[in-house]
Amino acid sequence: MELFTNQVLAGIATGAIYACMALAVVMIYQAIDHLNFAQGEMAMFSTFISWQLMQWGLSYWAAFLMTLAFSFVAGIAIERILFKPLAKAPVLTNVAGFIALFAIINSSAGLIWDFTIKQYPTPFGSSPFLGSQLISTHQAGMIGVTVLLLLGLYFFFQYTRIGLAMRAAASVPESARLVGINTSWMIALGWGMATAIGSIAGMLIAPVVFLEPNMMGGVLIYGFAAAVLGGLSSPFGAVVGGFLVGVFENLAGTYIPGVGNELKLPIALALIISVLVVKPAGLFGRHIVKRV
């Protein structure tokens, strides 16, 4: 029983990271109808920035906050420079743009900080949480920060005027313009927020997977899986999907004989495909019915 609880809690902790990545992916998908393949690399680059700031002597939380601000501005800049001009381009052009962004960020990080694995600090320590062997303080910190972030985002979108305007711009852009919302800037703002959310995921997972340019590859695949599982049209679904994927991945690795660490990923993805066969819009997604 202790093993089970332990695995579930560890799953929730990594699931929190998948939830953040899935949320970032969904926010951009809602704004521009494309999957951002470079979301993980953007998060990785942000994490390197925070590492660099700490190397220069800043405290963890100072570096954390500065990285958030940097990521927010960088996300807006990427949208303005690269994806705003591509807004009316065909899907494949956009896909090429995302792949280019992926490769550029990945190689730049390698060029600046090289490809060797680096230790990344945790502000929470890695002792047992509240004296219990079930979960470490860092894992508890991952869950805590994510929950705070999610609550903050919920209040932002539900109770602020700018949050309302962003939701309106994403759901019916033409009507949003007709009530006076600058939809183009709302998209840029969405990019900024998604990038900042991704950077939080990167900084929280870096102590676990270590810091290197390819650190987010696996995480982003789980993030995508979570987003698709929960439904790309539902931010709430993406978050739930993230936690589900995290828990399932751990339980499958522990209890299904022969799976272990190596086969965790394919098993998790197989589950997701099975869910999608039954519910193509994802668990919480809306079917969009078009009249023909």
Binding site: R161, L164, A165, R167, A168, S171, V172, E174, S175, A176, R177, L178, V179, G180, I181, N182, T183, R286
Partner: protein, 237 residues
């Protein structure tokens, strides 16, 4: 009476296709003007051109200020509220959120709260359903919501694109009654595009008839309604 909206030699294009061929008309402050015409005559395009939602040339002036080459969202900030064809409801949001979105450019939060109450007085059914998701409203209720959302801007001018479309005759009567009241009591000037010419002419002060992208007739709504020849050849009733 001062001219609120003045449109001169308006030409509009969808890609290579020209939809308006030099259209001119004007609207006086406080008046209710209707644009009539058959399917494809260019009524909707005219409204869309005013809000810069379609490529156009010519002069569009609002209170003497040119609107050309401004973005749709900045034109709205002049006090022009556009209720588009199909109503443009934010279907995944609640009725109250739809109303708040109508006032999203305003800064006076106390005024917004009292205006929402005013809309509930105009349209009691919206009050009953204020927490309901707007997509679950009936067609008539959604049209009420669209008009209320537009009024939340406290507009100087309201553009309405076929408000009667798809509604039961009784609901249309109701809606047009409210539009007349808004025009008289709240001093909102209204430009309404309609296929239901008979009803629109009853409501309007001034009417223009469009055919294939040109104005072919204009005058007092009463005169056009009483002229049998015009009615038969252009309005089909």
């Amino acid at each position: 009476m001062t001219t609120l909206l003045n449109v001169k030699d308006l030409r509009a294009y969808y890609g290579q296709v020209q939809a308006l061929h030099g259209l001119s008309f004007s609207l006086n402050e406080g008046s209710l003007v209707t644009l009539l015409g058959a399917n494809g005559a260019g009524k909707t395009t005219t409204l869309r051109a005013i809000c810069n939602m379609v490529r156009s040339t010519g002069a569009i002036e609002f209170e003497g200020k040119p609107l050309n080459n401004r973005s749709t969202e900045s034109i709205v900030r002049f006090g022009i509220a556009h209720v588009p064809q199909g109503r443009g409801t934010f279907t995944t949001m609640t009725v109250e959120e739809n109303l708040q979105l109508g006032a999203i450019t305003r800064k006076d939060s106390a005024g917004i709260v009292s205006d929402i109450e005013r809309m509930y007085a105009h349209f009691p059914v919206l009050k009953q359903r204020h927490t309901q998701v707007a997509g679950t409203l009936s067609g008539g209720e959604q049209q009420m919501l669209a008009v209320a959302r537009a009024l939340m801007l406290r507009p100087r001018l309201m553009l309405l694109d076929e408000p009667s479309f798809g509604l039961a005759p009784l609901v249309v009567r109701d809606l047009f009654g409210i539009l007349g009241k808004i025009n008289r009591e709240d001093k909102v000037s209204i430009l309404v595009v309609e296929q239901n010419a008979q009803l629109a002419l009853e409501l309007a002060d001034q009417a223009y008839v469009i055919e294939t992208g040109r104005i072919v007739m204009s005058g007092k709504a009463k005169d056009i309604a009483n002229n049998e020849e015009i009615r038969k050849s252009y309005l089909g009733y």
